[in-house]
């Protein structure tokens, strides 16, 4: 990966719908080169997919989201990987990370209601082998997601002219 790739990745991360012609101008390369580079980055898995940052609250379809922490007994030879692999298969699990600290795995779980999330945790997650303890934290409000601030700030006024 070189500097031009890095610029393209930043631009796509910021807005993956930016047209190739504009990407070319911004990154100071040809349109053909942009297409080649993007194909390569896709093939290499550096670009996983193209998605929108949705504010579901605003969209009028508010979901309940919770951070769930798990204490897990690691397995000989596999550590946390096998249990993590099983957890990733649940569509309710939006993200999953291995963490330092008191708990081992951290899940972000989304569901239609608090009740649904409680049911999911108690019936699906907690009884799994090697899970020793769970802690569920309901997300009350999202202020910033993937670098995007949700609250609107008042624009600072600039003078129309200065030297």
């Amino acid at each position: 990966m070189d500097e031009k790739d890095r610029i393209l990745l930043h631009l796509l991360e910021e807005n993956c719908r930016t047209p190739v012609s504009e990407l070319a101008v911004l990154a100071e390369v040809s349109e053909e080169d942009v297409k080649d580079r993007i194909s390569r980055l896709e093939a290499a898995g550096a670009i996983r997919r193209y998605s929108a940052v949705v504010d579901w609250e605003r969209a009028g379809d508010g979901k309940v989201t919770a951070v769930i922490e798990l204490k897990v007994s690691p397995e000989r030879d596999f550590g946390y990987d096998r249990i993590a692999e099983r957890l990733t298969r649940f569509p309710q699990v939006r993200s999953l990370r291995l963490m330092t600290g008191i708990y081992d795995l951290q899940l972000l779980v989304a569901g239609p209601s608090m009740h649904e999330i409680a049911r999911f945790v108690s019936e699906q997650i907690a009884p799994m082998n090697r899970i020793r303890e769970t802690a569920t934290h309901i997300i009350m409000k999202t202020y910033k997601e993937n670098g995007t601030t949700f609250a609107e700030r008042e624009e600072v006024e600039h003078l129309p002219y200065s030297f």
């Binding site: 610029i7 631009l11 504009e22 990154a27 600039h158 129309p160 002219y161 200065s162 030297f163």
Partner: protein
């Protein structure tokens, strides 16, 4: 009653932009490319440190020349970043923005009747500052065909036995022109042979896009005859904090300090603390802003050229300086009509010096979305005058 306004104050011409300002004030949806300031807010880490210092009660005067911490940090920064070495104690003065630094630098070295060469197009304050000091400003043109660099030929033509100082600003406001090492070396001999002093305003030094900034004081024979000006406004998006600095050999710095202590006492302490933090931890955010300016430059200059407003690719600062020659309008007519009809504010180049005639200064320190909208409105405007 007498007329109390002094001859000197009266002699300063009124701002060439006042009328535009008044028109823009009446409009709701102006896209302003007329502002020489970043649209970014100061990096939060810098703001936070300053807020904390106020809570701790840091609200008093500082040393006239600025806090020792800030001067030390500036000295180290200039050394590592631009290879210029200034002693924190004797050769650096923290000022209320580069505006004040330019004023006290000029007043520290100009006597009545001295001729002061000013490389133009340029920031509007140098010439009035020279006049207020009793000096005689002499414009030295930087031309589009030279990518707005200052050339030895242009300089040599205007040197007389009364010439004492050259004021230059690179990367340049309004043209975006830069001077590389070879460009400075080409005029260094002239400065030495005619025993001239250089005032080098380098406030856009961090904003270079194709190769780094070259500071003329790094040329050994120029160091002793150079006053380097710089500040935090542009690089760290800190315009409102008003923190700049003047660096000069000790004797000149001491003279400038006398003026500074009587006119300003010291730069605001909150700003000095913020500036120190900017140097300490602001580099990553500064670099991110510079990368963004480069993207904006690419987008905007490409758009201007596609519209037929020919524009060289500026290598520094955050201004594009397209020519309106192809439209048959003067820069002032074009800028005024564009503002009235399409609500896009730009500065006519003629306001910034005779070599700016026929050009527009467009600051691309606004979001890419605003730049696209501005280009689209400019396109509509150009269609309407065909």
């Amino acid at each position: 009653m007498r007329d109390f306004v002094s001859e000197r104050a009266r002699a300063i011409p009124p701002s060439g932009i006042r009328r535009f300002f008044d028109i823009a004030q009446t409009m709701e949806d102006v896209i302003s490319l007329g502002v020489g300031e970043p649209d970014f807010v100061t990096p939060w880490c810098v703001c936070e440190a300053s807020i904390y210092s106020i809570e701790q009660g840091s609200t008093a005067y500082t040393s006239n020349k600025g806090t020792p911490q800030l001067r030390g940090a500036i000295s180290r920064y200039l050394d590592t970043r631009f290879n210029t070495r200034y002693d924190a104690d004797k050769e650096i003065i923290v000022t209320c923005g580069v505006s004040e630094a330019a004023d006290i630098a000029i007043r520290a070295v100009v006597d009545p009747g001295d001729e002061v060469l000013v490389a133009e197009p340029c920031y509007v304050s140098y010439i009035p500052c020279v006049s207020l000091a009793g000096g005689i400003p002499v414009s030295v043109p930087c031309r589009a065909e030279d990518e707005f660099r200052l050339t030895a030929d242009a300089l040599a033509e205007r040197i007389t036995p009364r010439t004492k100082v050259l004021v230059a600003n690179f990367p340049n406001n309004p043209t975006g022109g830069v001077m590389q090492e070879a460009d400075w070396r080409a005029i260094a001999d002239l400065l030495v042979d005619h025993d001239l002093l250089l005032i080098s305003d380098e406030v856009y030094a961090e904003l270079t896009y194709d190769g780094g900034h070259f500071s003329p004081a790094t040329i050994p024979e120029l160091f002793e005859r150079t006053i380097t000006l710089n500040g935090f406004s542009k690089a760290f998006a800190m315009t409102g904090w008003r923190i700049g600095y003047l660096c000069a050999p000790a004797e000149i710095a001491a003279a400038a300090l006398k003026i500074h202590q009587y006119v300003a006492l010291c730069a605001p302490v909150m700003g000095q603390i913020a500036a120190y933090e900017a140097l300490r931890i602001g580099e990553a955010e500064k670099d991110a802003m510079v990368r963004e300016y480069r993207l904006r430059r690419n987008l905007f200059v490409d758009g201007l050229n596609k519209l037929g407003l020919s524009c060289h690719v500026p290598k520094g600062a955050f201004y594009a300086f397209p020519s309106v020659e192809s439209t048959g309008m003067t820069d002032t007519e074009f800028a005024e009509a564009l503002l009235r009809e399409q609500h896009v504010a730009v500065v006519p180049g003629s306001v910034l010096g005779p070599s700016g005639v026929g050009h527009l200064r467009c600051a691309y320190a606004v979001s890419r979305d605003d730049l696209k909208e501005a280009l689209s409105r400019m396109g509509t405007f150009l269609e309407s005058i065909k």
